[in-house]
């Protein structure tokens, strides 16, 4: 009777915590896939680059250079910030967009980095960018995942339960990281 009650509560908690955490599981899973391949792409931003050409700028006076670049590029308003990395280049910074003007040639590199909608937010939560309260939420989620994993072992009894075919799956699942790590660390 006591055993029955314990198993019933295990199923109830497994089910309800599952409902509660499904959104976070998807967020962390999708973001995990995205961040795993960080060497091949930027999972947070789309990196756009374009070259346009304007008239060369011959002035050496900073304010004149900026005014001419703004005029030639038809930008309308002054940039938020200006930087000259070297005597032949001026960079104009507008929200979300940078113009790097090569003064002698008039070639302009236009760079913008719009966020990848939804994926950016998922990644920020996954890497705990917000810190503060999110650390607490993520900790509870991590504990919930551990609970889900362990409680899942005891949902079923009999031939499909842990002591039946379940033990082979558990052993195989445990062997995957173990064998990989031994190969990675000592054999490759």
């Amino acid at each position: 009777m006591i055993q029955l009650k314990w198993r019933r509560w295990n199923i109830i908690l497994h089910r309800d915590i599952g409902y509660l955490t499904v959104a976070l599981v998807i967020i962390y899973g999708v973001s995990g896939l995205a961040v795993n391949h960080i060497a091949d792409w930027n999972p947070n931003y789309i990196q756009k680059k374009e070259i346009v050409t304007i008239e060369p700028i011959v002035s050496t006076e900073k304010d004149t250079i900026v005014a001419q670049a703004v005029e030639h590029l038809h930008l309308g308003q002054k940039p938020d910030n200006v930087f000259r990395p070297d005597p032949e280049t001026v960079q104009l910074f507008y929200p979300g967009i940078t113009y790097s003007v090569d003064l002698p040639t008039g070639n302009v590199l236009v760079e913008s980095n719009p966020r990848r909608m939804v994926l950016y937010e998922m990644n920020q939560l996954h890497v705990n960018s917000p810190k503060g309260l999110w650390t607490f939420i993520a900790d509870i989620f991590a504990v919930s995942l551990i609970f889900m994993g362990i409680s899942g072992l005891f949902i079923l009894k009999g031939k499909n339960g842990l002591m039946g075919r379940g033990k082979w799956f558990v052993l195989f699942g445990t062997a995957i990281p173990l064998v990989y790590w031994i190969w990675f660390q000592y054999l490759q």
Partner: protein, 156 residues
């Protein structure tokens, strides 16, 4: 059940508003009151080596891979300094480029040999998809950076 749902959503919205309010602060609180000009650090690296400083200027570049550094433009033309933070501890988003930073950290001075500079130049060019002419490197270089601990970023 509906009440629980509404209370949960309201709590989440509160959490989001807390997050939004602090989203332009990175790492530790800024403690240094007086700003040091970047041009002064560049002109006298030995004087500032190991010292804690607060610098201000436009963010002229951001680490594209991991957001682990920003380059801050100097008060003098053609000069900038790299503000390097520990990977993963602070992550600067790419879209802060062009905004103004107030950044605090420890000044670090490192000397690079010609071989090290060529290797680094080649790696950088490979990453950026550009070319690098090794013959342009003729002598060792002193590289200055600030080991960043905390920063505040403003829109303008």
């Amino acid at each position: 059940m509906k009440k629980i749902f509404i209370i949960s959503v309201l709590s989440l919205m509160l959490a989001v508003s807390v997050f939004s309010a602090s989203k332009k602060k990175y790492g530790k609180e800024i403690t240094v009151k007086e700003t040091t000009k970047i041009s002064e650090i560049i002109a006298n690296p030995e004087k500032f080596e190991g010292k804690r400083v607060l610098v201000k200027g436009p963010i002229v570049d951001v680490c594209k891979e991991r957001g682990c550094w920003i380059k801050i433009g100097s008060d003098k033309e053609f000069e900038s300094i790299r503000f390097k933070v520990e990977d993963g501890v602070i992550v600067f988003p790419l879209d802060i480029k062009g905004m103004t930073a107030a950044a605090e950290g420890i000044v670090s001075v490192k000397k690079y040999s010609v071989e090290e500079l060529i290797k680094s130049g080649e790696e950088h060019a490979k990453k950026e998809g550009t070319t690098f002419d090794a013959s342009t490197v003729k002598e060792p270089k002193i590289v200055l950076q600030i080991k960043g601990e905390g920063a505040r970023v403003d829109g303008k």
